[in-house]
Amino acid sequence: MSPRAQVYILGLLLIIVGAGLATYKSQVLNLPITPGKYQTVWTIEAKVEFQARGDAVKASMALPKTQTNMEVLNEIFSSSGYGFTVDSNNGNERATWSKRTASGQQTLYYKLDVYQRQGQFEASIDGMSTAVNKPDWSGTRFSAVREAAASLIERSQQESADTETFVTQLLRGFNDPDNIDSRLLLSGFTDNSPVDIALGMLAMADIPAHILRGIYLEDDRSRLPSSVLLEVYDGEQWLVYNPATGTKGLPSNFLIWQRGDKSLLDVEGGSRSRVRFSILANNVPAREVALKQMGGDQAALLDYSIYSLPIEQQSIFKFILLVPVGALLVIFIRVVIGVRTAGTFMPVLLSIAFIQTSLLNGVAIFLLILAIGLWVRSYLSKLDLLLVSRIAAVVVIVVILMSGISIVSYRLGIEQALTITFFPMVIIAWTIEHMSILWEDDGPVEVLVQTAGSLAVAIVCYMAMTNHYIEHWMFNFPELLLVLLGSIIMLGHYTGYRLSELIRFRHMVQS
């Protein structure tokens, strides 16, 4: 059999098998072909750290309350070497890690996936104590703050109609930097936080209140402490206030971790304990969310899909599964269209970097590094270095540039630029080297042509790799990899004209 026939038979076979498997899965196993709506699922990681003294250790941490506008999908506790229990009393869940002896730095993790549901937050009344504990601000030491608090309360009472407006006025006054009473209050205490003082004043005014601990769901945050809101009882219901501004209502992206005054973390047998939160957003098809919510039978369908992996592995797999799509595109663009690029698969790597940095930032950073790199390299070429050391030098320069860009843009408040680390440094260094030789031999025009070509291909790959449909197909039907393989093999035997040749040889037809 001629190689050509073999190529077509093998290619077609792969395509048929791959497409057949995918069709079977969608028809018989009812896996939908379209991705449907996407929803943000937040992965929150609470990291408990403390210094153990060498004795028995017991750490207990409050777990998030179920909140009417948030749904917890998944919880994972890591407790290497620790005994672990979750107990609940009157609706307050706490996780407890314990160990007979431990010493040195200890780290425990609790991770959960949450998604925001439609609908309003409704605070339940059950189980929350409406008792008021008056603060102990007696004695001459506190006379000044007592006066100030009383004056602030009185003014707010005069300017308000009911509890709801009173709390707003009180907090506004308290947060007004020009308010003398508030300044007195803040300077009168040394070990009370502003929130504690606000709670004290509410108690003085006979209003039941407690703190609401939680975190704001914002993408790509790490090592955050928890945030605090105030919850106030107006006689009928609990109302949420931001203690720093006096605004009423629960921010829609606030995940309540704990209601009430109990501590977030208790550690016995350890010191310097703290909890830090990291937050990550993932876009997951709504259907997957629904399946995870239901658990059980239907989820078994997906047991062998990528979605059955833990979220971190999924995000790594995302790229791995999408790289073949990029490779196919690159081959198509080179063989069928005939675009000249610098390096065969450099554009794919570039597009992966773009996914991390977002497109515009990525293109800007790439062009910046390339331009500065070319300029520096033109100087290096005068130094008579060996090629290997010159490329190594360019790698170092690229790294310096990347760090520089990261730091400068971080100072300017552009967090995005930090993701620049995903740029394939060595590949960029090679690209700079390649481009500078090209510049010397074929002139700047050819450099422009190839840069533009590489960028165009990288952008096309980026578009494809971030397309929800393609992502959905590659995730749910990994057997499509066979289709890709088949197409790549067949494209490798494409002997027709390239689009660019139709232009190149156009004069031959006229003559």
Binding site: L386, I391, D441, H493, E501, R504, F505, M508
Partner: protein, 312 residues
């Protein structure tokens, strides 16, 4: 823009088809090093008594660079080349000396340290494919035949002949221009002039893939151009098949005013611009050669050339 069917009717060979149907099929991988390395080609040619520019010296190691002064000695006309370069990259043509200076073909003056740096760059692989370390070759300067005087600007014109299974199928003359910086490589702006296989007369000329009728720097029209000793040149090219065994290759030949036609280099992946220069597609002739009877392929180079000349 042309339609694929129009190109097909003109018998234009495309890049994909060239790679798969000709290069992959007729050129054995194992033979590539022989043509990709100009030094090996030269040694193989000398063994077969095929004329090539004289080899003056070779530098393979960094430490040898120190001694280049004594190697160069009194030479005033020579060429420095990376042995595995392509596309005219890294070729330095020295046409004379002026006290301590070396003169390039465009009159630019170089010092010995510039030459040393150039050699270092070549050794470290700057001009070779994939940046692989390379060696440096010194060869004698070709002084081109007077017929070409007005057809080229500051550089030696070379004749590219595509040889398929030992039969010359198409030929063009490549002339340097100011834009190509004295090198006869088309993508750098040299002019390609298609040559009639049977007569060695010009057919057509292109620069940057576009038709031209006269040399942009000298203003000389290409219409009266005729290559002297044409048959001898074609025989030389056809004989390269016996030498390296590549089924589909490009032979680059230059006409030295003293030594006559010499092989400059062989190419296992000859470009497609020759079709533009000739105003004709390669496909028809390649198909014809593929259809030849086996005994035709056994003919000696002279008869293969005559057969081809009669056929086209």
């Amino acid at each position: 823009m042309a339609l694929p069917t129009q190109l097909l009717r003109c018998g234009v060979l495309g890049m994909n088809s060239r790679n798969i149907n000709y290069i992959a099929r007729y050129n054995q991988r194992a033979l590539y090093p022989l043509v990709d390395d100009k030094l090996q080609t030269k040694l193989a040619a000398q063994k077969q008594n095929i004329s090539v520019p004289e080899l003056l010296g070779v530098i393979e190691r960094q430490w040898q660079v120190k001694n280049i002064e004594s190697l160069i000695g009194e030479w005033s006309k020579f060429v420095i080349k990376p042995t595995r370069g392509s596309g005219g990259k890294g070729i330095l043509v020295i046409t004379g000396r002026d006290f301590e200076y070396f003169l390039k073909s465009n009159g630019q003056k170089l010092e010995l340290k510039d030459i040393r740096r150039h050699i270092n760059n070549i050794l470290s692989g700057l001009y070779s494919l994939g940046g692989k370390p390379d060696s440096v070759m010194f060869e004698s300067l070709i002084e081109y035949d007077q017929v070409f005087t007005d057809y080229t600007y500051e550089g030696v014109p070379d004749i590219r002949i595509v040889v398929f299974k030992g039969f010359p199928v198409m030929a063009m003359l490549r002339c340097a221009t100011h834009a190509s910086d004295g090198r006869a490589n088309l993508h750098q702006g040299a002019i390609g002039i298609g040559l009639d296989l049977s007569t060695g007369k010009s057919l057509n000329a292109v620069q940057y893939n576009r038709p031209v009728s006269e040399h942009p720097d000298t203003g000389k029209s290409f219409s009266e151009l005729e290559i002297p000793g044409w048959d001898e040149i074609l025989v030389l090219a056809a004989g390269c098949f016996e030498m390296v065994g590549l089924g589909y290759m490009g032979c680059d030949i230059v006409l030295d005013r003293h030594a006559g036609p010499v092989i400059l280099e062989l190419n296992a992946r000859p470009g497609l611009a020759i079709q533009l220069a000739s105003g004709e597609g390669l496909m028809k002739r390649l198909k014809a050669v593929e259809a030849f009877e086996p005994e035709l392929l056994e003919l000696p180079p002279e008869q293969r050339v005559r057969f081809m000349q009669e056929m086209v």
